[in-house]
């Protein structure tokens, strides 16, 4: 039986958990002011750890996207702290944030967001170059990442020639460009069929387990809980529960190989 833990885990110090790669402490986000103010998120605290898959669930408008946007340094919180690389980065300006995002985060989206004019290889390579304009061997690194996600044979295909699952694998390869410790997926399986969705989650699970990346996935799909180490329940802008599932699917238990090309 998975053990439920208290809401908003407390963190006595930045070094409380050796695997912590990022954390948000008491973050809140309010849009508007006065009577028109809307609290999208209130007093949320969460630790993100290497090697773990953290699922964030909740109904539409609950604040899930706001939470991962703040965590991913895409949104500045109205209150609270965001700890990354051993410091609070919540108040940093737009000059420093791109570099922090490039070093620490990879993003995967529901709609894939691949450039339709670029091949799979070029989509991955452009992200590597954008993160680090001085990067050498971007094409070779892109090919390696595509091989890693099982799409080496599709490197020169345009997104229009790929299935949904393949497109999402390309997006994952792109997210891995620059070797970020944290992957954030915003409903990465919502546009996929069940079998493909599970295959993509298998891949994300493997990235967490074997490469010690921290994977954070926002989803509406409770079937994905079996891939998670923790499930964070968000409702009405608050973290209502954090459940440690204690389950880690093994390679033998997985339905499909993570390197399948769906």
């Amino acid at each position: 039986m998975p053990a439920a833990v208290a809401i908003n885990e407390t963190f006595p110090s930045p070094a409380a958990h050796p695997a912590t790669v990022a954390r948000v402490v008491g973050v809140a986000k309010t849009y508007g002011s006065g009577e028109a103010a809307v609290a999208a998120l209130a007093d949320a605290s969460l630790e993100i750890r290497a090697g773990e898959v953290t699922l964030i669930e909740g109904p539409s408008g609950s604040g899930k996207t706001t939470l991962i946007s703040i965590l991913g340094l895409l949104l500045t919180p109205t209150a609270g702290e965001v700890w990354l690389e051993g410091r609070n980065v919540a108040g940093l300006g737009e000059r420093e944030l791109p570099g922090l995002r490039a070093r620490n985060f990879g993003f995967v989206f529901q709609g894939f967001n691949l450039f339709p004019a670029l091949s799979a290889l070029e989509n991955v390579a452009i992200a590597i170059r954008m993160k680090n304009p001085r990067a050498r061997g971007a094409d070779a690194e892109a090919r390696r990442l595509l091989d890693h996600v099982g799409l080496g044979s599709r490197a020169h295909h345009l997104p229009a020639d790929l299935s949904g699952g393949q497109k999402q694998r390309v997006a994952i390869a792109r997210a891995l460009g620059g070797n970020p410790p944290i992957l954030i997926g915003d409903e990465p399986t919502a546009a996929l069929d069940t079998k493909t969705a599970l295959s993509v989650m298998e891949l994300l699970r493997e990235l967490a387990s074997t490469e010690r990346r921290a994977v954070v996935v926002v989803t509406h799909d409770p079937r994905l809980e079996r891939f998670a180490d923790r499930v964070v329940r968000v409702e009405d802008g608050r973290i209502e529960a954090i459940t440690h599932t204690g389950t880690r699917p093994t390679g033998a238990a997985s339905a499909t190989s993570p390197r399948s090309s769906t």
């Binding site: 791109p98 989206f109 967001n113 004019a117 452009i126 954008m130 409903e187």
Partner: protein, 377 residues
């Protein structure tokens, strides 16, 4: 970035073709309109530019080269006596009616020059393609341009007509000497010109052309000539510039051509701007994704600017030959389009700047793009 920019542009080939068409039409309009302007100006000052005079002396207050006020030729002797003047020649120019083969009349611009056997006058017909211009010294001899055939109906040496009721025989034909006015230029000897222009009398001239002695101080000679009553002296380049300025500013010709050229730039700006903006909107989520992943604004802006520069380069590459084609077509209508390397260089620069500014709206859009918006949005 160039590869990404190129592929984004080429992905929608129809839209790309429209962008290139817009830029190329803009380039062609600028080149042709400015080329036409400079062609007209070249024509306006062609008689002056073709002369070998060091100085042009005319009546003070003359505004227009073609409509110069005549003055007494005794000024010739005063000018010729100034130290530093090696030679002074008289020129009489004015407009008069010529008889056409069908019996009708046509206004022509008579240019009467001093012909001396064995010497070439400071102002003499050039680009001679038929006949002997040395025969201009004969009474009634004229030289006309064969490209004015549509008006004069003269295309052979020996053609005989009447100018102001007096006999005129074509002794030579030139090619490419055209007047800026609608009246064809007719070269003749000074004495013959005076017979065509009896209203000026036997001692009138409109210009005295000066050839300076070797190592003469041009400024000093010019000053001494201008010290003479009612005379003004200009170097050939100064005279050329004056007549160009007159036609350009006093008649509004310059404003007309440049207005059309500016409109061409506006057309290109609007077309490219709209194409780039629609393309940016189409890829907004992708640009947002790149920003979310840590791409700096400068990198994303470079992609858009690269698209603008590619459009500029390709549009210029298409538009420039189009302008050459237009020039060839206009030549058939006796219109001169002066396409110089300098004009091409300036137009290329204008095209680049035009496309860069056209990209501004797209650049602002991506700069303001909130990377958080890529989450579902």
């Amino acid at each position: 970035m160039w590869n990404l920019a190129r592929k984004l542009l080429l992905h929608d080939r129809l839209r790309f073709a429209v962008a290139i068409a817009g830029v190329s039409v803009s380039v062609m309009l600028v080149l042709v309109q400015v080329g036409l302007y400079y062609g007209f100006m070249d024509t306006a000052s062609s008689l002056i530019d073709a002369s070998t005079a060091d100085l042009w002396v005319g009546k003070q207050g003359n505004e227009s080269f073609e409509f110069a006020t005549p003055f007494d030729e005794r000024a010739l002797y005063k000018v010729a006596s100034i130290p530093g003047v090696a030679r002074a020649e008289r020129v009489l120019m004015s407009f008069v009616q010529a008889k056409l083969p069908d019996g009708g009349d046509l206004g022509v611009q008579v240019v009467g020059i001093e012909t001396v056997p064995g010497q070439r006058a400071r102002l003499a017909p050039w680009n001679v393609v038929a006949g002997d211009p040395q025969r201009l010294a004969e009474p009634g001899a004229i030289v006309v341009d064969r490209t004015e055939y549509a008006k004069l109906k003269i295309d052979r040496v020996g053609h005989v007509t009447e100018i102001a009721g007096a006999r005129a025989e074509v002794v030579a034909l030139t090619s490419g000497i055209r007047s800026f006015t609608t009246s064809p230029i007719v070269f003749t000897d000074l004495r013959t010109a005076r017979s065509y222009l009896p209203q000026f009398g036997d001692e009138a001239v409109t210009y005295v052309l000066v050839k300076l002695a070797p190592r003469a101080d041009r400024h000093a000679v010019q000053a001494r000539i201008e010290a003479l009553p009612h005379l003004a002296a200009y170097t050939t380049p100064q005279m050329s510039a004056r007549t160009r300025t007159y036609w350009s500013e006093r008649t509004g010709v310059g404003a007309g051509f440049f207005t059309t050229a500016v409109l061409g730039v506006i057309v290109g700006f609007v077309v490219v701007g709209q194409i780039l903006y629609s393309g940016t909107l189409q890829y907004l989520r992708e640009y947002g994704t790149l920003k979310a992943m840590g791409a700096k604004n400068s990198a994303v802006v470079r992609v858009i600017l690269s698209q603008a520069m590619i459009s500029a380069a390709l549009g210029f590459a298409v538009g420039a030959p189009l302008a050459i084609g237009m020039r060839a077509a206009m030549k058939g209508a006796n219109l001169s389009v002066a396409l110089t390397p300098e004009l091409y260089a300036v137009t290329a620069g204008i095209t680049l700047v035009m496309c860069a500014f056209a990209a501004l709206l797209s650049i602002v859009k991506v700069l303001r793009l909130d990377p958080a918006s890529v989450f579902k949005g």
